[in-house]
Structure formats: C-alpha cells, structure tokens
C-alpha cells in the first residue's frame, strides 16, 4: 500500500535518515521502534509530506507521491497523529470533530453555500466519534483544557473523522496511564477492524508494540537495522542491545 525506497534526509549538516526503504501491505500494522533520535518522527514527516526528503521515492497505492503536499496526501487517504497531540486548542471537542468532518465532506460532496450550520448528519457523526473515543462527557470543553491523555484521544478522533485509509501515529500512547493505554490499544484494534485501516506507528511501550504490530522495523541512527515479526525482533541481539535492554518487569 505504501512504499518508500532509499529515503535520505538531513537537517542542515545533520544526516537523519540514511537510505530507508520499507513496504507496508494493505491492512497491516507496521511499527517502527528505535532509540530516541533514531529518526522515526522524521521518517513520519517525510512519508506524510510535512517535510521534503533530500532523496528517495514514496509511493502510495502505486502512485508516486514524493512531491505532493501534506494536504494532497490527506486527500489520498493519509491520517496522521503527532508525538505531541495537535488539536485546535480554542475549539471545543465537538467543534474539533466537526471541523475535521467538514474538511473531508468538502472534498467528497457539494454542500450548499447557504448552509451555515453543520448538517445534522455532521452533528450525529461527530457525536458518534466522540462516543468511540470516550469523550462524550467532555464534548463542549475547549480542547486546551483537556488533560494529556484526552488530547491524544481527541486527536485520534479528529483523524478518524477524515476516514483515512492509512493511519500514521507517532507514539499514540505516550503519557497515557496504564488503564487508558489498554483502552487505546483496544480502540486502535477496533477502529482498524471497523474502518479497514492500514496502520503505521512508532511507540516506545513494548506492550503496545506487542499487542498491535504485525511487523516491526527497528531504526538506529537513521538506518533500518532489522525488520520482522515481534519474535524476530526480540531475538535479535543488536536490537536488544540498543533498544530493549533486558526486559523490564511489568512496565
């Protein structure tokens, strides 16, 4: 579904990605792990079009999208969440969802210019998504007052509202309490199923990685050092060395 080959990226003189290639199949969950500063977020940025790569090609469903802007990629089915949740701070939870729903609707259907309020369907859809991300009790709180975990959930909801084909999540459970984290894992599994999604994510919590991933890629200093299933990765001595260390009890 998404494929990239030989991606190079440097910030000024600092090389960050050194020839990354990967292929993610339809409806697969592909996880990227690696030490801090390995280049995971940067790779996400390149794949989603937030920053241009210095070299390399990104294709999506066979189409070369290397030069497309981020919004054009969203039109083709990208959804993206960030390491630090990006939501519209001054708008309420529901307005955040409505704005996302409308952004999508604008591309797919012709609305009437005279219709100022969102359509009833939009309200219903927004309320439904709020339910899916368990924020129904906070719908009219301005997003900036949400706690950390709630923000991440809202961001996921906003992204789901775009009905993406591929969901790219940068550390979706960072900063969540264990209970919320489990709930988020369940939710991701559920939406993946319901919306028939392909998922790419980065994560530092090995529990989450273990629960979600079909395949895992390990990055270090801008290079992919291993790709495989969870057990392949666990058995890889280099990966243990640079990333996992000995397993941590019940973290």
């Amino acid at each position: 579904m998404i494929e990239c080959s030989n991606i190079y990226k440097s910030y000024g003189a600092i090389p960050v990605l050194k020839g990354i290639s990967l292929t993610v199949a339809e409806r697969e969950t592909f996880t990227i792990i690696g030490p801090n500063g390995a280049g995971k977020t940067t790779l996400f940025k390149v794949l989603t079009g937030e920053v241009p790569a210095n070299a390399g090609v990104v294709t999506f469903n066979g189409e070369n999208i290397t030069r497309l802007s981020a919004s054009a990629r969203v039109h083709r089915g990208f959804g993206r969440t960030f390491q630090v949740a990006r939501i519209l701070p001054c708008n309420s939870v529901l307005e955040n969802l409505i704005i996302a729903l409308e952004a999508r609707a604008r591309r797919t259907e012709r609305g009437s210019l005279l219709q100022l309020r969102p359509s009833d369907r939009t309200w219903d859809d927004a309320a439904e998504i709020a339910g899916r991300i368990s924020l129904l009790n906070k719908v009219d709180i301005p997003a900036r007052f949400l706690s950390h975990g709630d923000r991440k959930r809202l961001e996921l909801g906003v992204t789901l509202a775009l009905k993406p084909k591929i969901l790219m999540m940068d550390e979706p459970t960072a900063g969540m309490s264990p209970g919320d984290r489990n709930a988020t894992i369940d939710m991701i599994v559920r939406v993946k199923d319901e919306d028939r999604l392909t998922i790419m994510l980065t994560e530092h919590d090995m529990d989450v990685v273990a629960h979600l991933s079909d395949r895992i890629m390990v990055m270090n200093y801008g290079e992919a050092i291993a790709v495989g299933t969870l057990s392949d990765i666990r058995d890889n001595a280099a990966v243990r060395d640079i990333y996992l260390g000995e397993e941590i009890g019940d973290a």
Binding site: I14, N36, G37, G175, P178, D180, I242, I248, A251
Partner: protein, 233 residues
C-alpha cells in the same frame, strides 16, 4: 523538607485539587500515580506557584512559601521538570543546562561535565539547539536541566514519556544516583509503575484531585484493589 498541607487548586472556577496533604522528607523519594486528568500536573505546578490559583500551605524546610513567586521558589530549591518539557528552542543544549544555574543561588549547582556524563545521550547533542532535538532527546535535556541547580527537591512530571526502554532504565539509575549523591528529594509523577517503584520509597495515588492512597510500595503491592480501582491495572 517539602510539606504540602490542605492544598486546594483552581483553574478559573473549576476546583481541581481538594485538600491535598503530602510531605517529602529531605532525600526522601515519593511518587504520585493517577489516571490522566487526576491532577498530578496541577499539584506540581501548584507547588511552584506556576499556573493554578491556590489555597493552602506549602512549606520548604519550614519556610512558608505562600508569598513567594515562582522564581523565588526555584531559587529556594524547588526544581520542576514539566511534562511538556519546555526546552528553550533558541538555546543550545549546553546553554539550556547552564541557564538553569540561575536557580542555584548561593548553593553551588552541579558541574556541567558531571551532568553530561550522567546522561550519556546528551554528550553528542551538546551543541544542538533545543528546536533540533527529537522528543525523547528533549525529555532528557529537561531532566538534566532540572538537576543542574542541585535542588533541594526535584519535581519530575512524567519523565519517562517518550523514552526508549533502555533509556528508561538508564534514567532510573541516574536519577537515583544523583538524588543519593547530592541529597536531592524527589517528587515523581509517573505512569510507568516500574520506573516509579525503582526510584521511590513512597507512593501516593491521586484521583479527582484527592489523595486516595498513601503508603510504601509494599503496602501498595498488598492492595490489588487500589491498583485495580485507581490505576486500572
């Protein structure tokens, strides 16, 4: 050393903390656990007078802090590592660390070399600007900046967020070592129970702005109901 008694905190009209009592003895290490939105961050900010409106007593080494501004509290020996890191983007990593010495006052702060040694990840990044760091790297800088002034009490708000497993364990060891060596008290808010247990002796659980459990880790272990009810594990 740090005593919080009957602390109430408000954002606008919403009442977030309800009569929180808490002490951190000198070179004591204490964790606060709780769900998202339970008030951990609010508690930490309240202790530094950096955000919410507060009622209640906060004392450090017997001095009442009620009238002190944030920077005075920092100079008196409270050092907060905020959950959103707040690295100064236009300063290099080195300068980010050195600037924190403003809080050292007449105590001597820690040596830059020493801190860079303790957090090996930072060595190669010393000349980078704050805006050029990855999320986890920023987190490390934030923690290092927090210990620079050699505080009396270090307040760490979710320091392991976004750190790789190996690094989490290195960090745990470093924090314990630094706190022991320099007699720094620790108030830690965490989601990572392993990390919290490794670093601290006491644990408080906060729920909806109230402390609902306090005790040692052994006591905590013997109460699976508490664990289940408030942390959902």
């Amino acid at each position: 050393m740090l005593e919080v008694s009957g602390l109430n905190a408000f954002y606008g009209d919403s009442h977030i903390l309800h009569g929180v009592d808490l002490t951190v003895g000198s070179s004591d290490r204490v964790s606060i656990l709780g769900r998202n939105g339970s008030g951990k961050t609010t508690l930490m900010k309240s202790i530094l007078n950096a955000g919410p409106r507060i009622h209640g007593g906060i004392r450090l080494d017997g001095t009442d802090l009620a009238r002190e501004t944030s920077f005075r509290r920092a100079r008196l020996g409270l050092s907060l590592v905020p959950e959103d890191r707040r690295i100064f983007p236009h300063l290099t990593v080195t300068d980010n660390l050195l600037i924190a010495l403003a809080a050292a006052g007449d105590r001597a702060g820690l040596d830059l070399e020493r801190v860079l040694d303790t957090f090996p990840m930072l060595g190669p990044l010393a000349a980078r600007y704050g805006s050029q760091l990855s999320g986890g790297q920023q987190q490390m800088v934030a923690v290092a900046r927090g210990v620079m002034p050699r505080p009396r009490c270090l307040l760490l708000d979710e320091p392991t967020e976004g750190l790789a497993p190996v690094i989490v364990r290195q960090l745990a060891a470093s924090v314990v070592r630094l706190c022991d060596e320099f007699k720094i008290g620790l108030l830690l808010s965490e989601q990572n129970i392993w990390f919290a247990r490794f670093c601290t002796q006491h644990v408080h659980i906060i729920e909806n702005g109230r402390i609902v459990f306090s005790g040692s880790w052994d006591e905590f272990e013997s109460r699976p109901d508490v664990k289940h009810r408030y942390l959902a594990v």
